[in-house]
Symmetry: C2
Subunit: 258 residues, 2 copies
């Protein structure tokens, strides 16, 4: 179905534009794009097994090594997961190992007890200008606004304000959210076909306002870690804006630099 890309390397034709712009793109990157389209189009869904390297090589009329390089790149991007002896699977937020993979909060005293969620609010609302800008919507477009608190060992630690584009999350309600067990991003995958693949965060220290202080059970003005996260699906399309306030008196935000 996808147009087989032109051969290259071994003994054949020019790869791409020969005249104006060089714009050289290696074969394995073209394969990567084709695979991404299949993921985006839902040919293989989160958690599913994709065809073997040899099958894909036959489909795209390239060698196994070339397919392998494309899959390697997608695995690096965390879109695919390789399992030796079993095959290659579409990554998902449902796997035990990666649940809450975007949550970088770590308790000071090593072990993390259970996490509890409480949904405070969930309503449809017109997008304020700043939210609209972040989500690439028009101001006033319908959005879904969710407010919730995460607690660890019975103490509230995170207050999240979440904005979602209304069109992509039709039918999402407070009940749906509160009765769902498991990570939010997993619900997005299974119920709305929305898969978050990466996110940008902006961190600052702020003082707690009265409302946040009450919800997090801290003094007004107490220092809180503000975490503004913008999450993206395929094609770098932003699909969630999340403004979090973290009480870091017994937890810290972990980051690794390299």
């Amino acid at each position: 179905m996808p147009a087989p890309p032109q051969a290259a390397g071994h003994a054949t034709a020019p790869v791409v534009a020969r005249d104006a712009a060089p714009a050289f793109s290696p074969l394995y990157q073209q394969i990567k794009v084709l695979l991404t389209h299949s993921l985006q189009g839902g040919e293989w869904r989160p958690g599913e097994l994709i065809p073997s390297e040899l099958e894909l090589a036959a489909r795209f009329k390239v060698s196994q090594g070339t397919v392998r390089k494309a899959i390697d790149a997608l695995a690096d991007d965390r879109l695919l997961v390789r399992r030796q002896g079993k095959g290659t699977f579409v990554a998902t937020h449902a796997e035990r190992e990666v649940r809450f993979r975007f949550l970088r909060l770590v308790p000071d005293n090593g072990k993390s007890g259970g996490m509890a969620r409480r949904f405070i609010d969930c309503r449809r609302q017109r997008a304020p200008a700043d939210v609209a800008r972040a989500l690439a919507l028009r101001a006033g477009d319908p959005t879904l606004q969710v407010r919730r608190v995460l607690s660890f060992e019975g103490r509230p630690v995170v207050l999240d304000d979440i904005w979602l584009p209304g069109h992509a999350f039709k039918g999402l309600t407070a009940e749906r959210l509160s009765e769902y067990r498991g990570p939010m991003y997993r619900l997005f995958e299974t119920e709305f076909g929305v898969r978050m693949i990466r996110a940008d965060e902006k961190l600052r220290a702020v003082g707690a306002d009265a409302e946040s202080a009450a919800l997090l059970e801290v003094e007004p003005g107490a220092p809180l870690l503000s975490v503004e996260r913008l999450s993206f699906t395929y094609g770098d399309r932003p699909l969630e804006l999340r403004r979090g306030l973290y009480d870091t008196s017994a937890h810290y935000y972990r980051n690794e630099l390299s």
Copy 2:
């Protein structure tokens, strides 16, 4: 000079332990270890060109492809930098593109004007217990303690307290630091042969104490972003503990999740 690793794959001998523990390690990872040792031992210094893939393949008696995979891994770890047509170089904190690569602070209004440094203090001091633990020293071991302020557009934004193991940084003085132009980690490389390759950070929101408030020109109690960074050289040896306080009223800490 290094013992050539055993062959594998094509048509030859068992690779490694056959009896008790499987402990299988692919050839290219063994090559990676050998290359790391050469880096660590100073055979090739930061910024220098390492031998070509073909030369290394000959030295280690493996194919070019295997050396390539090892170098790819080291390039992913940011220990090496590949430049097509030129060769492969030892990564350094001196390169224009990666200067201050560990500093994630971004000004709200896009463009970053100049950065100014002011060294407030630099003294030899016995390691407090917590610092010693982080740096894998014994409490009371000699350390160097540096305090400095970073300013952007004339306004103080970052207050850093830096601890360095005394033995690795003999001869580092306040003058040396203040007269040096360029990133600190570059000075560490050129003057002390210490190359930082990765770091862990712990972030929290805290209230400014009197001293910090004065130095950062904020109100006492104002929310500040606390960034505790532990930096590592080769072999995961910690060689710097840095406690930073960031005024995030006009800057934010940027992070990318994937």
